[in-house]
Amino acid sequence: MTARHAMPAGDRPGIGPPLWLLAELTYRCPLQCPYCSNPLDFAQTRQELTTEEWVRVLRQGREMGAAQLGFSGGEPLVRQDLPELIAEARQLGYYSNLITSGLGLTEARVNAFRDAGLDHIQVSFQASDPELNNAVAGSRKAFDQKLAMARAVKKAGYPMVLNFVIHRHNIHQMEDIISLCERLDADYVELATCQYYGWAFENREGLMPSKAQLEKAEAEVKRYRERLTASGSAMKLIFVTPDYYEERPKACMNGWGSLFLTVAPDGTALPCHSARLMPIDFPNVRESSLHSIWYDSPGFNHYRGDSWMPEPCRSCDEKDKDYGGCRCQAYLLTGNADNADPVCSKSPHHDRILAARKAADHATAGLEELTYRNADNSRLFFRG
């Protein structure tokens, strides 16, 4: 999300309102993408929130000032109450985004969602051709369905946003991907290199592009972007490169508990959709109001401010810029979420990033060797 101006004060000094609410409606999904950001043990999730519970969450969020709303998952389309939730969101004044694989979508549903007040549908693709797309998604018919739905979305008058998750097995397709988006008349194209959380962390060695692959892709995107500008195209290309090739960490989520509030399918409230993997007790919307969760819960206050920071962050003059990077990444790579994000070259654990880069230069694993995100594989993670 773009936030060009200083954010206003919320109900507590120093804590602004949650302007972005992500509603992860379900972990159910017909696809099995090996880079899914859902938790590894998603299959043991307790009962999903009911329609009434979601409506309450939406109302409380809007009252606090949330303006952007994402319906995500899993595949949010498997929720039969989606039209009802969309209508409620519109009536409350949210700008609502549906983030979908396109599977389970029909032209009739695309139109019904528009009539209910949905603002935008983002369709995700896995590649620019059916073979690779379907192999990554673990579904034989996914690609054609996605194409048909992308066209239906455009036809219904929505802005078209296409999302491609980029990794070492499709990063060579950059030109083909952008050209496909141009043919579909996309307004926005997100080329998002995998971020290594959830299933993507598990599969990192098999997903992370090498430095050489990345540089080639960046050059291709740059060339294409210049071509688009020259032709007066309004298609906007966003290329998210992996932070594993940076020397300074990203300002993850614009700071912990600063703008973003995620509600997981079972009602667990999180400062980001990956935070569930951390050994922190996060509150649940079934037990507390969103207001007390955001402003008062220990989980959301855990990494606010900078008094929690150890060195090298504590005395670093860039700590107000990147907040020490990503807490989930610090936890996954060092075992302690307080540590500096190892992406930072000042981190004593930066060698772990260097090792991952080195591994990416020599990786040989094929797609078939990745652990695909499905309920059977998920059960292995919580049975141990």
């Binding site: 101006h5 919320g10 985004n97 603002d119 935008h120 008058g157 802005p159």
Partner: protein, 91 residues
């Protein structure tokens, strides 16, 4: 400049302009993004309705802000910038 005055600006499809009490500001919402507008940007975009041309919008704003003098330059500059940002289109 004359040409621009006759053109009719409207928000691009997928963009929504609204007042946000929690931010005490007008905002522009679009796919997965939000721009918080300052007072003058909010005042101009509030008049962008896809019906009236730039000259009408300038006239309306000059009525609203009689002490501000001629607004043609500022409003035109802002709208051209908004077009470059792909927030609005002219027809």
């Amino acid at each position: 400049m004359t040409e621009l005055l006759e053109q009719i600006p409207r928000l691009r499809p997928g963009f929504r302009f609204q007042w946000e009490p929690a931010q005490n500001a007008h905002v522009l919402l679009y796919p997965e993004g939000m721009v918080r507008l300052n007072d003058s940007a909010g005042a101009v975009l509030k008049e962008v309705d896809g019906q009236r041309n730039v000259a009408d919008i300038v006239a309306t704003l000059e009525q609203q802000f009689p002490d501000a003098g001629s607004l043609e330059g500022d409003v035109s500059e802002f709208l051209k910038d908004a077009e470059q940002q792909h927030w609005i289109v002219f027809s």
